[in-house]
Symmetry: C2
Subunit: 281 residues, 2 copies
Amino acid sequence: MGRPMARNLLAAGFDLTVHSRSPDPVDELVEAGASRASSAAEVARASDVTITMLPDTPDVELVLEGAEGVAAGAAERSLVIDMSTIDPQPARRLAAAFAERGIAVLDAPVSGGERGAIDATLSIMVGGEDHAFERARPIFEALGRTIVHVGPSGAGQVCKACNQLVVAATIEAVAEALALAERSGVDAERVREALLGGFAGSKILEVHGRRMLDRTFEPGFRARLHAKDARIVLEAARDVGAVVPSFEVVAAQLDRLVRDGGGELDHAGLFTLLAPPAAAT
Amino acid sequence: MGRPMARNLLAAGFDLTVHSRSPDPVDELVEAGASRASSAAEVARASDVTITMLPDTPDVELVLEGAEGVAAGAAERSLVIDMSTIDPQPARRLAAAFAERGIAVLDAPVSGGERGAIDATLSIMVGGEDHAFERARPIFEALGRTIVHVGPSGAGQVCKACNQLVVAATIEAVAEALALAERSGVDAERVREALLGGFAGSKILEVHGRRMLDRTFEPGFRARLHAKDARIVLEAARDVGAVVPSFEVVAAQLDRLVRDGGGELDHAGLFTLLAPPAAAT
């Protein structure tokens, strides 16, 4: 995700200093006009605004707070935007810790996948102070299309958790319905068509339903990443005493898909747990 | 549902003979130009095409096969259209039994609710023979907008079961997400807004998500009817050995809502099992 997002920032005219553990995207971005930094601290030293995009909570904590991390280089009054998807609680903790040093942190996870990153059509869900959000707005507008300031620190991550809950649960529902149709010997294509026009209609039925019927599971969004996000949803729910009874089953299905070797499939691959490889009809 | 559908048939110029256990709708329809019959058999004797719209499987079996039922009056080469939502298996059995007497039966359950019945915008999911479907088409066109011939007998009911599965599971997912947002102290309005633009977007998030945040649960579609349809989904899945793990939880939530006295609420009332009556934010 980081590489196409950085490209869009360059294209929008931002001065960019980049660092990554993987050298290839950095080489490519330097070629395109970015400066190279040898650490996150060096990025922060060179920048008014530092953006992180990392796989999981421990990565974000390490890159923000570790030795040679962002905290080691960021000046007072600078801004940090973490666009990774992590737990709301550590997001709030990081924002509070940086605030003590006069550094604002926004949690700004995205949805829309690699396609959305390339096309600058991401949805960006932002948590943090108003003034920090306004300061970041031109950056968000270079990266995405739906930009919502959801609330204070952590609210962006809560929103992303809600998003991942609804997306996975809807995929599972569509998978269960289309598998039921196939097993019943009914043309699942026509079922999808009939359902699209009514209250069962959704982007998931349209896009992921299509993938299920075609048995094409190239990602898109990988099941193992959604399984990680599902753990964040369950954690976020536990933290506040919310119950998510149907999503618990969906999270277990995602884990099962990963254990069965389907982690690199698109999340629509949930269908493979329910239906045989070729249509039964 | 039957009354507004009958009105639309009259408005489209069909000669209509009506019977119901409840006298009021019959009086009203007779006033509007329909003829009155004293039994289902009498309706069938007077008609080339007999339509039934009833609450559940036993009602349909009674009205089609019971004493003074449709079978007692229907002529050879007449057509029976059952627009009730029932199990696929009895729908197939009834079609086979009537076929032996030269009478075609279509299963043609609808979605779209009372609003769709009044506005003639129902989705109609049809199972049965091609020639019977073609014969019924002008009738369907007077009643609905999305008319899909899904497949042979029972296919309409399977499709409706798939529809009810996806609708209830999506409502539950949206309810779990919005309740999580509220419990996290995050503005659930903004979460809904942020999610509508992306892959979490659906008619359910739009319409039922709105009802949840407004705490307005006038039906719409009653939870007790969806609980009944959920039992049909589980039955249909069991019949063909399909697994519907997340929907099992959704069906249990619907039953719980009905047990808790929420059966007359709109099915968006699933939210009340997860969130307090007033927003926690």
